[in-house]
Amino acid sequence: MAVNLATLRSKVELALAGRVAAPFSYRDRPVIETVSTGIAEIDSLAGGLPRGALTEIFGPACSGRTTLLLSALAARTARAEACALIDGCDAFDPHSAEAAGVELKQLLWVRCRNMEQTLRATDLLLQSGGFGFIALDLGDMRADVLRHVPLESWFRFRRAVEDTPTILMVLEPESNAKTCASLVLRMEAEPTRWSTTLESHASDFFRYPPSWLFEGLGIRAELLRSRMQSSAPNNFKKPFASVGHSEVFKTNVLRSYLSIAKIAPLK
């Protein structure tokens, strides 16, 4: 039996000689390079954003998806990488982005009105190549519209960035990319942080009842899938339903309260 197998193997190798270098050797899975998201908690949870792969970030409104997006954009543009944002609902706020540290000159903003325009624009940008980071913001799209996006579109997007240094990130209200995503994070809102720190001052300066002051969001990120492997082969992890790890972090809203005067009660 062993002699027959050896003969068979040599026959196959002879037949494929010149076309396939080593047909019976396993191809080494390439090590995926990851980069920082700009948020230390997410970096320790997911290992960073993978290059040449699709990353899916989903969650309800006000769950911190856009905060993660702007943080990643800030990190990439700080390294002089050309970035692109395909804005499915024209919801991007340049002021908020600039305050978050995004270098706007490095960002190509593509403002779409509907799903068809969004998918077509994504195809054009992925084919063009050369971008370090491409984000597809579908955060405000209706979930029923997103469910009608064929799976082949997600597969096509993944294939377009494979073996390239481009990071492709998708923001959605629900997960739709399925197995096409190499990294999937679910975002949830933690209780919002309010304070009444101006209470003691309000009576002195404004002589009105104290009011709430919005301090920031609490965000929980859960790692659902990660296909990245480290350089050591025995650290390879098979993808499964949920890795089960999560991290919580907080955001801050900066407002210059001293420069905006509080007004008289509305009549």
Binding site: C62, T66, A74, R113, L217
Partner: protein, 533 residues
């Protein structure tokens, strides 16, 4: 001292053939005149051999089925002459613009650059071929000898010093361009070539033919000397094409634009220049339906413009004709002309080509030409105002910005240094909350209790406001018509889960969160500006 003369034989025919390359291997005759009287004014060698004669009527010439009849085009002749000047300038800065079909170059000192005179002549022929011209070249130490030798002999003619008379001996006297009267006289005498003319006694010739005869005698002996009259050709790169029939479709128009762009780019390359902008101008046909463009009921009817003009600005100078054609097509698809096209004029603004050297450790950047094409396609799909880099405007008006051209830098040293993790953090060290904008802003209905918002209705959803921060008044531009005055609130909303409500969104619960709403004092209405995410 050495001079090279470049002559374009059958210049008028070559000018037309340059715009229609498939005709170069065919017999072609050109007609001109005032309709309905058209006569043959030029023909190439193949047409002459087929039996075409100058002055023949168009109807007669049309009987020669193997001969293609075209109208003479002065526009194409101008372009061909400009191409000839570019050819000369690509080799030598000292050039004489002798005639529409001939130029003379001073090629002394070019040996170290191009090699021998023969090499220079071959270079000139090859470069002329790239510009769509077939030329004859002659090199001599005497300017007039080179000029007439190029006119009379095909291919490359090299005349060593001292042998001018011998080489010109076989040249026909017609090549010396005598007047018709003198030519008839010489033919009656049996003088047909320069050798015979040079053999005539000078004194008797001057008595019979005057100073013109003396001049011709000197030319025939190769003894006439004159200096080069330097030309300063303007750097105007323009190609025109007048169409026999109006073109209204993009596909045939693209074909014509492609040819003109190829010629334009070849001329730019001859001068070591590139185009930083392409101006397109079309002369349009009068169309009865579109003759009047009524703007409103009260305004008088206006005649539609008879020309179409657009400028294609390029981020970096280029002479890639295929890329330019794609960009022009995208521009025409987005802004088509309102009538069929009768004449095309393309002009390029010249600039020095960009010289850049990439670094090994620089981050990858999109290829500039590919990026320009992609942005053109995106603009075609979404509109020019929806593609670009956002640029904040220095104003207090909330959310004001403009869209600028996307021009990323690939050099990290040109970006203010921040480390990756600190990039998104506020000076205090915590992560900055992002904001998402509603465009356009959404009108809302707000219930107040003791001047604080407690209930809100917008986007088909109702909800309770469980916490509110504000109001924060901002106002500005009071001296303008678009003044603004807004009282902003940051509110936490819990939407009602009501069954049977029209579901414009997946679930109201998915929309709970922190929103920014404002009361517009001037419009006396509430609006939702966006939400934090």
């Amino acid at each position: 001292m050495a001079f090279a003369s470049i002559h374009v034989p059958h210049f008028m025919v070559q000018a037309v053939v340059r715009a229609e390359p498939p005709l170069c291997s065919q017999a072609v005759a050109l007609v001109d005149g005032t309709p309905p009287i058209w006569n043959v004014v030029a023909a190439n060698q193949a047409a002459l051999q087929a039996g075409i004669e100058w002055g023949m009527a168009k109807s007669q010439a049309a009987q020669f089925r193997a001969v293609e009849i075209r109208n003479r085009s002065r526009v194409q002749e101008k372009s061909a002459h400009a191409a000839l000047l570019d050819l000369g300038a690509s080799v030598s800065p000292h050039m004489e613009d002798t005639a529409p079909d001939a130029i003379v170059l001073d090629i002394s000192g070019l040996t170290s650059l191009f090699g021998s005179d023969e090499n220079i002549s071959w270079q000139l022929m090859q470069r002329a071929g790239r510009l769509g011209l077939f030329v004859q070249v002659a090199v001599s130490s005497n300017l007039e000898v080179a000029l007439h030798a190029a006119r009379g002999f095909s291919g490359i003619t090299l005349i060593p010093p001292g042998e001018e008379a011998k080489c010109l001996g076989k040249l026909s006297v017609r090549a010396l361009l005598p007047s018709l009267e003198i030519l008839e006289t010489l033919e009656r005498w049996g003088v047909r070539d320069c050798a015979a003319l040079a053999a005539l006694p000078l004194l008797q010739l001057s008595e019979r033919l005057g100073q013109e005869g003396v001049r011709l005698h000197e030319l025939a002996r190769g003894a006439r000397i004159r200096a080069l009259v330097l030309a300063q050709p303007g750097v105007r790169f323009e190609e025109e094409m007048a169409l026999d029939f109006a073109v209204a479709e993009l596909e045939p128009l693209s074909f014509l634009l492609g040819r003109l762009l190829d010629q334009l780019c070849a001329r730019l390359e001859a001068r070591a220049l590139a185009a930083c902008a392409i101006r397109t101008r079309f002369d349009l046909e009068d169309s009865f339906e579109k003759k009047f463009r009524i703007l409103s009921e009260n305004s008088p009817p206006q005649l539609a413009s008879k020309t179409y003009e657009k400028v294609l600005a390029l981020p970096i100078p280029t002479r890639n004709s295929k890329m330019l054609l794609k960009l022009l097509r995208l521009q025409l698809q987005a802004n088509p002309p309102h009538a069929a096209i009768l004449k095309i004029i393309l002009s390029a603004e010249p600039a020095s080509p960009r010289a850049s050297q990439g670094g090994l450790f620089l981050p990858s950047c999109p290829d500039t030409e590919k990026l320009e094409l992609t942005i053109g396609r995106l603009a075609n799909l979404l509109g020019n105002t929806n593609v670009g880099s956002p640029e904040l405007i220095d104003t207090h008006r909330p959310g004001d910005f403009r869209m600028a051209r996307f021009a990323p830098v690939s050099d990290e040293s040109k970006i203010p240094q921040k480390n990756e993790t600190a990039a998104a953090h506020s000076p205090g060290g915590t992560l900055r909350t992002a904001f998402r904008v509603f465009r356009p802003e959404i009108e809302a209905k707000v219930e107040l209790q003791q001047n604080y918002p407690t209930r809100i209705y917008f986007r088909g959803m109702r909800g309770n406001i469980v916490a509110a921060s504000g109001p924060w008044r901002t106002s500005g531009d009071w001296w303008r018509e678009d003044a603004w005055q807004q009282d902003e609130w940051e509110v936490e909303i819990r939407f009602d889960s009501v069954s049977g409500q029209s579901q414009k969104i997946s679930s109201p619960r998915m929309q709970d969160g922190i929103y920014r709403i404002y009361y517009d004092s001037l419009r006396a209405a509430w609006f939702a500006r966006g939400r934090y995410d």
